[in-house]
Symmetry: C2
Subunit: 555 residues, 2 copies
């Protein structure tokens, strides 16, 4: 069977190559009003309405709160801006008058209103188990229903995405549409690394805007690492002596702004303080908490945190309490990846400690370290750890989330699920591994639960809570992070929100695996979505090949 | 010998890997005041001066012209802006007073003046044989000498690059320095493709700013291709029906602006109208000039231009004359790459034509086509062609430049040089082939003349005039072109301006090949240069790994 699939594929490729005639125009003409990520269920008719942003209103018919009021303002602005592009375009081409009334029989007039029925009071902060379900009915008087403010936010995003420009950018239209929608996965994250390069606050806020557009709901903030410590602590101000520069820090005020901005978009901000490895920067102010590494009797430098010293845990514990005050999320990522066990073993004091504690392997020391750190979270937050912590046999509290990032993901996830823990998945979604255009497709064709399907009990599959696209910061900063992440992370966003329902074919995770949607349609949909992001101020790069996007920014 | 080199390399890699201790801070600390590309000869002392932009002046002691006056204004602005960053930084950190006077004995006071001695009248436009040599002496009264306005422009760029921020961004300083400088290669280009994606005029101007900073002197404008025809012709206005959008065109006014902006920076703008392949977009308005392709008797679509019809040549000739009026450069790129000879052969009328003209091979038809097109340039411009035109045996006028882009570059360049033609080189410099950070190094270690050293007579080496970094546009548009090109093209810029003087090791074109400069120093220099570009408004991406750049844009 596999051989037949490969043969068929080879034949298709050969035929495609031999017809090398290129047509003028974009490689994938963008769709019109296709929602990204694809809703669970959507029925669309040919009936359509016009938008007039000066008469159109969004009204609160149920509960309301600051989040909803802010969202209505925000999305009205999006609609007005879409309309402005159309007006500006006509001016640019000196087009007088309008054939706006040359509509066919399917035209049903001007959209009047969107009524929002929120049936329950707003929750304060988004959380892992939040309800994001909504239903939307687009008609002259449209209705958006949800039991949750978070569902309302997702529905508003879908609503504005349904609008499209038509008739040579003369009109903004929307088709009569019914949607029932909810996400397949509850944890749909983006990891941003602000240690390898400092990312400015405005760029982080723009990242949140883009996440909202993709219905992603967790900003995993890998805030410090070996290279720099931009978190500005009040309790330990000297830690940020290891910021790249005194101007390159995140103060309590910055963090509050980011958390609040995210909250208004239904996005959790998950802090990561990675220990005991990736901590060189901690040693600028506190060298004593790090381990001296040796080779052939020569001191090489400082390695991971010293797991034998009480002051190490004291510092971590105090810092965690401060961080918990700034980040309201109920989870806290304590890292635990890539610990240089060799360094620990090279240090005679640590070897002595291991002997005294009957440890024969350095992984036991890692286990000991994490076992001491995790209780420091107290009742305030539950831990998330990188997979090594599980791999090295650390006893973890039930409900702990393990983030899988290595390429042995199938076996790893089976083990974690069997152990009673929960999983978030990242192995295929490292955005720092870059290729030419179209490399979003390799992210797109991955569905974490499909990877373990059949090899774990079905009721365990749901313990894969979701996943994260990871933008490690070695080669991105403010100059390129937005265009590097978007729309590549959009592929992950759709994989996690919509799921794919394809058969498990772990040996083939590529575009030709798409089932419900042909690769062509998905590419065209992403072409529209990237352009939509451009229009909303997100510099998403071209997703596929040749094409264009009318934004109104250049004329 | 080769085996020893590889073994040694393997050992070095192993040792480096085993010491995996990461220090806090940037991977490559930027240099301070290192000029990119490296000057031919530079002597620097420890004596240094302070900049006070409100008293410092640049004066014209020799000839002058609009280009020089404009350049003085521009570079004074650069210096003032550098100074403003320092002031803004102090305000941000609420730093009062200044320890600006805590200078050591090497401090020689405040820089007073830069005298520019231009000994010859300005030329109107930059050209292939322009003189870019200059000498610079930085002292309290500094002197820049050149026999050419183009040399003055290069010298001014070097001058402002010598300034650096010191003492925690408290001061802008410059060291006493003597420079004798000129380029190794005369053609140092960047190809920009505006057909696969439209690039806006402001972004093209910004590209010219960045080229000036890298002493690149040819913008190779691959203006039209299969996908779109953004060139707006007055003679054939319908051609730009194949623009992606009516707003996405380059008018005569746009082109004049771009050519003038480039002229002021000593940059030639070389137009390319690629024929007979890559011409689908021409067929939107003029389908009759393209060839119908067939497979098994079925018409597949339109292929390359039809070489058998007079109207094809009439259209090309008329268009060339219009383009020549808009682009003053003495060269004209007529393309000639990747012609689908199979399409020609599939067409029975073309087969008949070949029979009538005693042609047995489609490459003879390509030859026939180019032989008809090149004379259309008249006396006004000389041709540049892609290598296929040479490969297929087209008889070319002496002095024709052949652009080498395939991977068989050594043999190809030997053949072209033996044939009496000139070469520009691009094979290793396709910027659309992307990898993670640091991939500039693979461009850096290439010197076109070194590739043929020993295999062609020494007096033929100079017929390799230079090369071009090529940014094909499939996956770049305004959102990412600047950060994708810079500082990766800077590596090409230094290879072409400074040369490398390493032994010929065609099997090893990597960073460990650098000789005069260690890879570490070059990386640190490029770190400074990328940051310098950031400060001057060019969003160059991080060149290496972890690091930072204080620009003043984010506070």
């Amino acid at each position: 069977m596999l051989r037949h699939v490969i043969l068929l594929f080879a034949v298709v490729v050969y035929l495609t190559e031999s017809l090398s005639i290129v047509n003028p125009g974009p490689q994938y003409p963008p769709t019109k009003g296709s929602i990204w990520p694809r809703p669970h269920q959507q029925t669309q008719t040919d009936s359509y309405y016009k938008l007039n942003p000066s008469t159109f209103v969004i009204t609160e018919k149920g509960k309301t709160c600051d989040i909803l009021k802010d969202a209505i303002d925000r999305y009205m602005k999006v609609l007005r801006n879409t309309y402005l592009i159309v007006e500006k375009y006509s001016r640019k081409l000196s087009r007088h008058g309008s054939d706006a009334d040359n509509f066919d029989d399917n035209f049903k007039g001007t959209l009047q209103e969107l009524q929002i029925n929120l049936s329950a009071p707003c929750e304060t902060y988004p959380h892992l188990d939040m309800d994001e379900k909504y239903s939307l009915d687009v008609a002259k008087v449209s209705v958006l229903n949800s039991d949750s403010i978070w569902g309302v936010l997702r529905g508003l995003e879908s609503f504005v995405q349904l609008f499209y420009m038509a008739d040579g950018y003369k009109n903004v239209l929307i088709n009569a549409t019914q949607i029932q929608d909810f996400p397949k996965y509850t944890h749909r994250g983006l990891l941003v690394d602000t240690s390898r390069h400092y990312i400015t606050v405005p760029t982080l806020l723009k990242t949140l805007d883009a996440m909202e557009m993709n219905k992603m709901n967790v900003l995993h903030w890998h805030i410090v690492d070996d290279q720099s410590f931009p978190y500005k602590s009040d309790m330990f101000p000297q830690l940020s002596d290891a910021a790249y520069d005194p101007t390159m820090v995140y103060t309590a005020v910055d963090i509050t702004q980011i958390v609040s901005y995210a909250r208004h978009r239904g996005i959790r901000v998950l802090p990561e303080f990675d220990v005991p490895g990736h901590t060189s920067s901690w040693g600028v102010a506190y060298p004593n908490i790090l381990t001296k590494c040796y080779s052939l009797g020569r001191e090489l430098g400082l390695g991971p945190m010293d797991p034998t010293k009480n002051i190490t845990y004291k510092l971590i514990g105090d810092l965690i309490r401060e961080v918990q005050e700034r980040f309201p999320d109920k989870y806290f990522h304590v890292g635990g990846d890539e610990v240089e066990l060799d360094c620990w073993i090279s240090n005679s004091e640590i070897r002595d400690f291991m002997k005294d504690h009957n440890m024969t392997d350095a992984s036991e020391l890692h286990s000991y370290f994490m076992a001491n750190v995790i209780p420091l979270l107290g009742d305030r937050s539950k831990p998330i750890v990188w997979q090594e912590v599980f791999d090295e046999g650390v006893s973890l509290p039930s409900g702990t989330i393990v983030q899988v990032w290595k390429n042995t993901e199938a076996r790893e996830m089976q083990n974690i699920l069997s152990g009673g823990y929960k999983v978030i998945y990242s192995s295929s979604w490292y955005l720092d591994h870059i290729n030419g255009g179209g490399d979003w497709a390799k992210y797109y064709g991955v569905d974490p639960r499909e990877i373990v399907k059949g090899s774990v009990p079905e009721d365990k599959e749901v313990d894969i809570l979701g996943g994260e696209a990871c933008m490690w910061g070695e080669v991105v900063d403010d100059t390129n992070i937005i265009s590097r992440v978007w729309p590549r992370a959009s592929a992950v966003a759709e994989a996690l929100w919509s799921g794919h329902k394809y058969e498990t074919m772990p040996y083939l995770r590529h575009w030709y695996q798409f089932r419900e949607d042909s690769a062509h349609v998905v590419s065209s949909r992403l072409e529209e979505h990237a352009c939509r992001m451009n229009r909303r101020g997100i510099e998403a790069q071209p997703p596929n090949g040749p094409g264009f996007c009318v934004t109104g920014n250049y004329f």
